[in-house]
Amino acid sequence: MKREEIRVLLMRVGGTNCDKETQRAFLELGAQADVFHINQIMRDKEKFLEYDALVFPGGFSYGDYVRAGAIWAKWIIAKLGREIKRFIAEEKPIIGICNGFQVLVEMGVLPAFNGISEHPEAALATNFPPGYNCRWVYIRHENHGNCVFTRRIAKNMVLRIPVAHSEGRFTFPKERENVCLERLIENDQLVFRYCHSDGKPAENVYPANPNGSFYDIAGICNREGTVLGLMPHPERAFYWWQQPDWTKRKFLPQYGDGKLILEGMLRYLEQKF
């Protein structure tokens, strides 16, 4: 399909608050992008399936009460579960950013080692060191080609993108930590790890790893590579003037690193459909 035919749906609910800038990025990239409150979507579920890609933007859905992302996730599974499953089965891409990543994990859509799980197989726990943290970090691309969003990003490439959250510590069940990690790597589901500016893994050292994530995990995809969740915000690293050191550089690229991820999704759609 052509770029301008691609229709991206950004879903929101009370507390979602990064929808506008994410929509702006997709529009800048030449796709169509609509933001809809779930109340509007529920009125016409069929319309939902007309979209080519789905975005869960950042924010604090339902105030992040109970656990970050949990309430929205369970709501979606209960009310839109069938539609979401169909969406994934058709290999349409879904991306969850920050709160969106938390939602996808709580939905069981990520990592989904054996397909969508009834209960979450991972968690995005409270940060260590604790508290909300807004800062630019480096993440290294770890995927070997399974993730449809990052196929055009070179393996081991370092991207600079900001995080802003208080519940982003990626965690597996303690007793199965290593088994889960092996599967994640084996299935080529590991996408981004926090690292130093030179690409060396953060190895759980703060602030390179800003939240204490297990194995410095910043983003993962599902087995099929069509669902991506990540804590860093690509939409905030989209334009050159959003970057932290731009006043220092003499020559600036037109865009920031976040563009690579969002555009990757559109390129996948262009080729696949």
């Binding site: 009370g14 608050n17 990064c18 109340n39 909300y132 915000h233 932290p244 006043t247 220092k248």
Partner: protein, 800 residues
């Protein structure tokens, strides 16, 4: 509420719900005061007498609903009696501080770009094309002293509603906080006063929680410490919004429906207004808990979404936020503003729980509520928009054209007051005196080791990095932050933040502030002058032009003449210097009665500056950029160390408070603006707390390069000591980095102003300063400087 003894002053009406008639008609002066106290309305005897006379004319007693309405409307918080009243100051009689000093600046300058100032709940100025910028800064001191987290959070929520209340989309928040020293000894704390560390953690968490949850970046601020804030935390919350004028609706009419939207109403915040206008005492904690509101930022986020849709579809004719005084103030202010009356049916107000008396419903300050005036033919659509966003909205009455506020509960008329009476309280008359305090100018020898002095200054609480607080605020959300509060990889302190709010324009908004309570201890006049200039300098340093100011006063009890005297001094400076710099005031707020068992808060004036950046691609950050860059200081250094961080570090206040020399400062500011516009400046930093030494260190370690500086080249007046040149806090100065190729052009622009080429940027990591005799007075690595600065405040920036 009434005791047995005074029971005859209150007559329960024979109704199926709780309404009292207040027996004012026959009350004597003592009884009037008792009534004021027992009902918590907090009115003075003169005011109670005015109420008595009004109801005598009408031949009846007021109900509790009426008395409470009047108490709310006439409170210091809502009506600003002190700023609007008469002040006798020496042989001078000042009719309204506000009109005489603050508003006068704006009136005389009368800039075309001011769209609406001091009229609405926020100042509104033109920005780009049809777009205006709305700005407001509020105080939330008393609630934050009682419950730091909730008080601060609802402070942010309140100021965001002020912005929504002029139909603007909130796009940035600011916060300026003043605490007691974090190491204050526990054993010295009086009962009822919380430890500054507890207050600090609670307040900063509350600020972050609200802005982050609502998805509004918190971009600019400051944190100050002083003993006088120990019982009196100061919390300033600001918000900036953007509104297209073609969507700005402001014409409520007779017949428009009053729609209450947002959270349910409970007892929260009842009497918050009168509480903010009284001193904090030991009992405050026990008595005032109900006055503290509970924050729900997600509710406000939903409310915001709905309101912006209603704005864009032009479905409502007016809007106002519910703040102090709740429904009572919002309804009567709207009626007053549009020359209307109103009829309200209180039983329609959605409640959190049963058992609220009608007056409680009417004055409750429950958070996250807004009031709209909606033409009948749009009502259905408006309610649908709210429903879609999961926000409760209820028609609770209608605007009329008879100039009367009528309140009903279950069809019974429980209040009927003329709007004209409500907005004409008796004028307050207060006395003010000003006795200049006498602090000795200290005498001490120049220290041998200025390196350790500089390191200590960088680590002192007012100067040290606030990174571990700033990082808990999301300053990137919305993706429009062009210049961040912490700059780049090394997180240096930018002078101002810049946002680019429109997708199709390079125009930006620069937000900065000026606050230095230390100077106010010597003279509030020069404090105000310095704060104004500092806020402007901070703005100019990043590229701000066409600057507008906001004033926020936090003072002690204005009924005490000495407190009021310094307030008058500060207001005089506000006129003198805002006028001189041609920077109009567009909004402001005062919080008085900030007293605790420790005495009054030190006079604290916050000046917020909002500037326009014509093209954000030209903005300048404070970090030095490249080796061999030339470092200039622009402006003269005087021996002005009174209230300086250097004196404070040595245990003194001093007397030589920094002055503002407006004509010269204006020339310098114009020069810097021109040089930035022409792209000649690589880095620019305002010189303020900690003087030249601290500003240079910040530029160096934020840029990652060393410098070589020669103090003999700094333009000075009558200073012969290296420490004084390094740490004097004279106003009117900028540090600037210029590349060799721009040298001539820069110098020709700055011709006629005092400047000195004081050194260069080096490839090395050394921070080297030579003294007046050519001797090395400071030699230290920039890493060490940065460590001091980053880890000065409670262990610092990079580990929380």
């Amino acid at each position: 509420m009434p005791s047995k003894k005074t029971g005859r002053l209150y007559i329960r009406k024979k109704l199926p719900f709780e309404v009292y008639e207040i027996n004012l008609m026959n009350a004597d002066d003592t009884e009037l005061q008792i009534i004021s106290r027992e009902t918590g309305v907090g009115l003075s005897l003169d005011e109670m007498k005015a109420v008595q006379q009004y109801f005598k004319r009408r031949g009846r007693n007021p109900t509790d609903v009426e008395l409470q309405t009047i108490g709310q409307t006439w409170s210091e918080h809502c009506f600003h009696k002190t700023f609007k009243g008469t002040i006798i100051f020496g042989d001078k009689e000042i009719e309204s501080l506000f009109k005489t000093y603050i508003f006068k600046v704006t009136k005389e300058l009368n800039p075309k770009w001011c769209f609406s100032v001091f009229e609405d709940n926020a100042g509104i100025i033109h920005f780009h094309g049809d777009y205006c910028v709305a700005v407001k800064v509020e105080t939330h001191n008393h609630p934050s002293a009682i419950e730091p987290f909730g008080g601060a959070a609802t402070g942010v929520g309140g100021v965001i509603r002020d912005i929504l209340g002029v139909w603007a989309d909130p796009i940035a928040c600011t916060d300026v906080l003043c605490f007691g020293p974090l190491d204050f000894p526990y054993e010295k704390l009086p009962t009822g006063v919380k430890h500054p560390r507890y207050v600090y953690r609670g307040v900063t968490a509350g600020i972050g929680c609200y802005g982050n949850n609502m998805g509004i970046p918190t971009l600019n601020g400051a944190i100050r410490f002083d003993e006088s804030y120990t019982g009196n935390v100061v919390v300033y919350c600001g918000c900036i919004g953007i509104v297209p004028l073609n969507k700005f609706q402001r014409q409520a009419e007779k017949g428009n429906v009053i729609v209450l939207a947002g959270g349910k109403t409970g007892r929260d915040g009842i009497h918050g207004v009168t509480f903010a206008s009284a001193e904090l005492t030991e009992e405050s904690e026990e008595v005032s808990r109900p006055a503290v509101q509970i924050a729900n930022p997600i509710q406000e986020e939903k409310l915001k979404r709905a309101i912006l849709q209603i704005r864009d579809r032009k479905l409502a004719s007016a809007i106002t936020d519910l703040g102090g005084g709740g429904i009572s103030c919002a309804v009567s202010e709207t009626a007053y503003r549009f020359g209307l009356g109103a009829s309200v049916e209180l039983e329609k107000v959605p409640l959190k729980y049963g058992g609220l008396a009608p007056w409680e419903i009417y004055v409750s300050e429950s958070q996250e509520r807004m009031l709209l005036a909606v033409p009948r033919n749009h009502l259905k659509k408006v309610l649908e928009v709210f429903e879609d966003e999961d926000v409760e909205a209820t028609p609770i009455g209608v605007y009329t054209d008879d100039g009367l506020i009528r309140v009903y509960y279950q069809s019974e008329n429980v209040a009927e007051v003329e709007v004209s009476f409500l907005f004409n309280p008796p004028k307050a008359i207060r006395r003010a005196v000003w006795v200049p305090p006498r602090f000795e100018e200290p005498e001490f020898p120049e220290p041998k080791d200025l390196t350790s002095t500089l390191l200590n200054l960088l680590a002192s609480p007012n100067i040290a990095s606030k990174e571990n607080v700033i990082r808990t605020y999301d300053h990137e959300v919305k993706g429009n932050t062009v210049l961040k509060p912490l700059h780049g990889e090394l997180a240096g302190p930018n002078d101002a933040a810049v946002i680019k709010p429109l997708d199709d324009s390079w125009k930006g908004i620069a937000i900065s502030c000026g606050i230095n309570p230390n100077y106010g201890k010597i003279d509030a006049y020069w404090m105000a002058a310095s704060n104004i200039e500092e806020a402007i300098r901070n703005n100019v340093a990043v590229g701000g032009t066409r600057i507008a100011l906001l004033d926020n006063f936090t003072w002690g009890n204005p009924e005490k003449p000495d407190r009021l005297g310094s307030l008058v001094r500060a207001c005089q400076a506000c006129y003198d210097f805002a006028k001189a710099f041609e920077t109009p005031f567009i909004s402001g707020k005062d919080s008085l009665y900030n007293e605790s068992p420790f005495g009054p808060v030190t006079p604290t004036l916050l000046i917020t500056a909002v500037g326009i950046v014509e093209d954000v691609r030209n903005i300048v950050s404070m970090d030095i950029k490249a080796p061999n860059g030339l470092i200039y200081i622009v402006g003269e250094t005087f021996q002005e160390l009174g209230g300086s961080e250097y004196y404070v570090l040595n245990g003194f206040i001093g007397n030589s408070v920094p002055k503002v020399r407006a004509p010269q400062a204006r020339r310098i500011i114009r020069g810097i603006q021109t040089a930035i516009e022409q792209g000649l400046i690589k880095a620019c930093h305002d010189v303020s707390e900690g003087g030249l030494g601290v500003a240079l260190a910040e530029m160096a370690f934020s840029g990652g390069y060393g410098v070589e500086i020669d103090l003999a080249r700094v333009p000075v007046r009558d200073i012969i000591r290296n420490d004084f040149i390094l740490f004097s806090e004279s106003n009117g100065r900028f540090l600037v980095e210029v590349s060799e190729k721009s040298r001539e052009e820069f110098e020709s622009i700055m011709r006629g102003t005092p400047y000195g080429l004081i050194g260069i940027v080096t490839q090395s990591q050394h921070f080297c300063i030579r003294g007046l005799k050519g001797e090395t007075v400071i030699d230290v690595s920039i890493r060490e400087l940065m460590q001091s600065w980053k880890f000065g405040l409670e262990g610092g920036g990079s580990v929380k």
